[in-house]
Symmetry: C2
């Protein structure tokens, strides 16, 4: 698939968080520093055996690091990204480019202090930002060396656990012996939990933000997120790559629309209450739209051009396969690390506050030490990306505990 734009991941965050989030992030930022640019690196992992039993011959994942690994190899922090994000979690990759999505809490002197910790963030397998030159992933848009054509829907199923295993290969290659912290928002929080289940002795602390169990309720919602892609006649069972074919941008845009609204809340949407765009008359013309609809349509049309529909479907499945190797959440968490900091958003419409509380209860019953604090703000779920600044001290203390 051709790389249409270099803006993919940046737009991912803008589309995910919106202007309100940018303001919130800006308010929480430390004073501007003349820090060096972050170098985007590529991990060439060779053959990768998936948990489902398939082999990907050429694992390639982008990543970024800052700080120095100590001699014991135990001052590493792994930051896992959200559904639409990539490894650009902090700092600047280009001189005039945007800062990473958790820049409020990661960097020199910040809560997750790159002066003390060796911080790593990795582009997941099947990352959706395929057209973005700043994202390096292996997924359905990757060339299958056996056929010389993109894998499409013949790419093996990837589970959340495969995200962990591919990251483990990278961390091993970097000499990391132990993670002082594994953390991330949303899909990144799920990765953190999957890490805690798979490698409890490797993870000293776990910080899932805006994340809880993927139960049948959320498996159903993930199905709904994906459905518009399969409805788009341009999807062609995933066979849309190459000359003269159009990708299923309408279906992908509608898929992003669901994610975009689901990840927000009514307090955010209130800015569009009772508003109708210039020239529109939805009370008289059935094709006309309200202001919130126009904002959604414009936002997701742009987002579709910087992402890949098949990768979206694989990312949905990876989320549905959260902790799929364990008979229950309690079984998965029985041997998990002891120290947890959970940060739900009060008005999260994806991972409801009570679902996070239920998750914490499972941990506590298993004898874990769970600290919890709520993320406030009008953004709903996205408070876990854009609203982290007020919790910087709490995170700093958790890391020092």
């Amino acid at each position: 698939m051709e790389r249409r734009s270099m803006l993919g991941a940046g737009l991912a965050i803008a589309a995910a968080a919106g202007p309100g989030a940018e303001r919130a992030a800006a308010q929480g930022q430390a004073p501007a520093q003349a820090s060096a640019l972050i170098e985007k690196k590529v991990f060439e992992g060779g053959a990768f055996r998936t948990r489902g039993g398939a082999t990907i011959p050429n694992l390639r994942l982008g990543y970024q690091t800052e700080g120095r690994l100590n001699a014991a190899g135990d001052n590493a922090v792994l930051i896992c990204h959200f559904f639409s994000g990539n490894s650009h979690a902090w700092g600047q990759v280009t001189a005039n480019g945007p800062r990473g999505w958790w820049d409020a809490i990661i960097g020199p002197g910040k809560a997750i202090d790159t002066g003390r910790y060796f911080v790593v963030a990795v582009d997941t397998l099947v990352n959706v930002n395929v057209p973005d030159a700043g994202t390096v992933t292996t997924g359905p848009a990757t060339l299958n060396p056996d056929t010389g054509r993109p894998w499409g829907m013949s790419f093996p199923v990837i589970a959340m656990r495969d995200f962990v295993e591919s990251q483990k290969k990278l961390l091993d290659s970097l000499g990391v012996k132990k993670l002082a912290l594994v953390a991330g928002p949303s899909n990144g929080g799920l990765q953190s939990i999957e890490w805690a289940a798979a490698y409890p002795d490797f993870c000293a602390r776990v910080m899932p933000v805006i994340a809880a169990e993927i139960d049948a309720w959320l498996q159903g919602w993930l199905n709904i997120w994906a459905a518009p892609i399969r409805l788009d006649p341009n999807w062609r069972e995933g066979d849309y790559y190459g000359q003269g074919r159009e990708p299923p941008l309408r279906g992908l845009a509608e898929a992003w629309k669901i994610v975009t609204l689901h990840a927000r809340d009514r307090a955010w949407a209130a800015q569009y209450d009772h508003k109708v765009p210039e020239g529109q008359d939805p009370a008289r013309r059935i094709g006309d739209r309200f202001a919130i609809e126009k904002w959604l349509d414009d936002t997701v049309a742009a987002r579709a051009r910087t992402s890949d529909a098949n990768s979206f479907l694989y990312m949905v499945r990876a989320n549905q396969l959260f902790l799929n190797e364990y008979p229950s959440l309690a079984a998965a968490m029985a041997g998990a690390p002891r120290r947890w900091l959970m940060l739900p958003a009060t008005t999260d419409r994806i991972f409801a506050l009570e679902a996070v509380r239920d998750f914490a209860e499972v941990l506590r019953k298993a004898g874990k030490q769970v600290e919890m604090a709520e993320l406030a703000g009008p953004l709903g779920h996205l408070n876990g990306v854009a609203g982290m600044a007020p919790h910087a001290d709490r995170i700093r203390h958790f890391l020092a505990s």
Copy 2:
């Protein structure tokens, strides 16, 4: 459009509420009575001028009544139906057919006592159950007498207020002078509120169940509900009626899927946690599904065959146009009737509990007397259809107050 099935509205309720709901409704029913069958009637309203300024030459709406209107004409109760429902709110229309969706609280001797009140329920304009012979509506599937073909998307936009105006015509023709109560769940609650704004002196009491304001947040969600229909290539801009054409059943099914899950909650979905259907292996085959996905797919495929896609789009717009003639909710409610009973569902994912509380606050600030009680149960939003029995006494007292 041919009438494919007589099961439409029955299935509407089954698909909306599911087996759990049927159990709940059954538990709440009064002892079986040898009550007479309810007769489905048709109101021939003649020419109808929409609030948007268009004229529909031949208004036809189905309705049912029970009880007797008193000499003053002021013992009438109007029951308004939900998005996917119809006027079959109580009783039996056929000897072996299902009982109506609020049968737990309406009927002889029940909370809304047809021995004391003249109870009326009306199929809305643009009702989605077009293939159901038990539903009579006027909408995009109706023949336009000017062309001899179905209106399709040339049917005029219908607002929530048009539901009220068409029902007012019927009530006037029946001799009703005043409603002792206007009530309904969800979209029926919105109609009740719209009645309260339009005809405050005509409505003594208002009981919106699982309903609050349609703000930009919900206008956006309504857009998302509708989007799959427009993606289906069989939709053809609404021109799918007639010989040799296939209606957009896949898109319509995906639209119903969103409604179906949105109207439930995680406690309901828990029965599908960690379940995979026989023969499916979603960890290895990207096209395979989890149990919750199969249940959704099966349920909505059946529901699509008993409903009409264009009518779904018009119903979405009618909901988006809730109270659209008023500058604000406070302005709409300033002159509203004084007595309100609001019944939100604690775990409603469409009309969140705090949204209902915000609505009640607007009413109280305007000097209204608002009683509120929460509907419990695992069904989320649908508790307002299937979980009414525990509130029967409260409703009886409200009516007597």
